[in-house]
């Protein structure tokens, strides 16, 4: 499978905003049924990379390919049409709308004859509940329930199930586990695995190394807009990855220096060190 043409590929993509280089020579290959974990500290250029992949930004230099053919996304809709779906933390779900209505926003199933077409609530609810349950979220059984009453993990699952239902081939998950508790995060990770099992290509953006290691096949660490490390599952240990994300500075050194600081400053940790831009 790994030898096939990548579903999505970036070749030496640069992105700059005016004089500021945000992404530098990014090359990535994403295969079907594979989870690519994109790791990086805040400000490493993760969001710019996602936005470039999902058509919000256009690369300044370099090229992007889908199934080996060169593509250019002028707007998010172009990327969506090619099957690239981006799911943000709570993006795409409306708390005060029902599960069924949420699922079909913008693509409502209707019944009846024009001009008396009505929203087919039963069909929408049935499909939505089935799609979510197929992803292993069995707690959602009532399509009339409002999404605001669901947990964060369930909302994520709904958004992912929705993207898959509407034909996504590449799923970009932007920090899906960031605001979740341990149990909820496990939920989302299970869904990522399910999406992978179904043959989707997943880009999983996170700064939680544990979560990345649970589902990832392939890892890329982003530092100051460039890929600092690109490796496959099992090639690095957790500590090595954490160190890489912190910008090469070993975590042990950092911990020692914080402890030392606290000893001399009545137990106060140092004011946040200037993070790498």
């Amino acid at each position: 499978m790994a030898d096939k043409t990548p579903v999505l590929e970036m070749r030496a993509v640069d992105k700059s905003f005016g004089p500021i280089d945000v992404l530098h020579e990014i090359s990535l290959r994403l295969h079907q049924g594979e989870v690519l974990c994109l790791l990086g500290d805040n400000g490493a250029g993760k969001s710019t990379l996602i936005k470039t992949l999902s058509g919000v930004h256009q690369p300044t230099r370099g090229e992007m390919l889908m199934d080996g053919k060169q593509v250019r996304f002028e707007r998010p809709k172009d990327a969506q049409a090619m099957g690239i779906a981006t799911v943000h933390q709570f993006g795409g779900t409306y708390p005060l709308m029902s599960v069924g209505r949420n699922f079909f926003v913008g693509a409502e199933p209707t019944k009846g004859i024009w001009p008396f077409k009505v929203f087919d609530r039963e069909k929408a609810n049935r499909i939505a509940v089935e799609a979510v349950q197929n992803f292993g979220i069995t707690r959602i059984t009532d399509g009339d329930r409002l999404v605001g009453g669901l947990s964060g993990g369930e909302r994520q699952s709904l958004a992912i199930a929705r993207a898959v239902h509407f034909g996504a081939r590449v799923l970009i998950l932007d920090e899906p586990t960031a605001a979740l508790g341990v149990k909820q995060a496990a939920h989302v990770l299970r869904i990522v695995n399910e999406a992978k099992r179904r043959g989707l290509a997943v880009i999983f953006i996170t700064h939680q190394v544990m979560h990345a290691m649970t589902v990832g096949d392939h890892f890329a660490v982003l530092i100051r807009g460039a890929i600092a490390a690109d490796f496959r599952k099992g090639e690095r240990t957790r500590e090595e990855i954490t160190d890489l994300m912190a910008g090469g500075e070993t975590m042990a050194d950092l911990e020692a220096s914080i402890e030392g600081y606290m000893e001399t400053h009545e137990g106060h940790p140092p004011a946040s060190p200037t993070a790498s831009a």
Binding site: G100, A107, N125
Partner: protein, 354 residues
Amino acid sequence: MTDKSANTNNRPAASSAAAPASTGFSIGGLFRHPAVGAFMGMVLVFIFFSIFGYDRNFLTAFGTSSWVNAASTIGIIAIPIGFLMIAGELDISIGAVVPAAKMAMAISVGYYGLPFVAGLLITFAIAGAIGWVNGTIVTRTNVPSLIVTLATLFSVSGLTLFLSLLLTDTTSQAMPSPPWAKWLFGDYHFWGLQSSVFWWLFITGALYYVLHHSPWGNWIFALGGDKESARNAGIPVNRLKIGLFVLASTAAALSGVCEAVLSNSATTTTNFALIFNTIIAVVIGGVLLTGGFGTVAGIFFGTATLAIVQQGIGYTPFDRNLSSLIIGVMLLIAVLMNDTIRKMATSMSTSKKK
């Protein structure tokens, strides 16, 4: 991945196949319906005024028609305003659109002697244009719609006064209507009900369909819930918003036409009270101030409640001015209930295992 392959997925989903994903009618569900609060408020107010107004004929056909007629002129406009509020916007320019529509009718039909239908076309074209201007400015500039429509409120009222004086040299104008138009827009029918009452019922029905049963309703809720996500989902956000502003001004024009035909005349006076009345009706009707949630039934009951209090007070021994106090208190309760409504709605689940 298509619909079909999702269905043929081999995970054990059999348990869900047995139970329907939608719940049908249930008493419990009915009590949790978001419009119930507004309905209970209306019933309470009605009982109150029935008791204290019984001696003074509140319950007679005459007493009933007085509040139903008052409700209809507010209600025709309140539902489109409610739509805007659900979509996260507001329109206060309707206070000037109503007199503008009345004067447009009276000047074209009464002063220039144009056919009634021509007057209607001119009036609704003007109203539609005002709504289009409102919507376009709001979507293009992202200035809050309260400010944009405040500007159009004053502009339109100034323009109405100026043009009336320029064209006819008066600020009030008589207007005769042909019998069919009189019957359709401004006559008293059985029990003393005005034509506008039937328009109100018709608009309530039509807009109930739009909000709760047509795909557009889904778009309106999505727009108020999260504009960016709605845009990403492929909803023509700006066109939808402009459409809602046009709907609000044309509804205001309809209300104005009904009033002008009924009274056979029109004046340029800006109707500031109407602005407050429509907003009060919508809020008492349980529409969330933050957008994203509301029902047509709720707005309908909210309008009726407001009209019962405003008109009913005259049938009781209480001082007339107290009606504003009652409305103020009810409005406050409704706004405080907003949060409760939201919590109740999100925790609502009819799928509890028996």
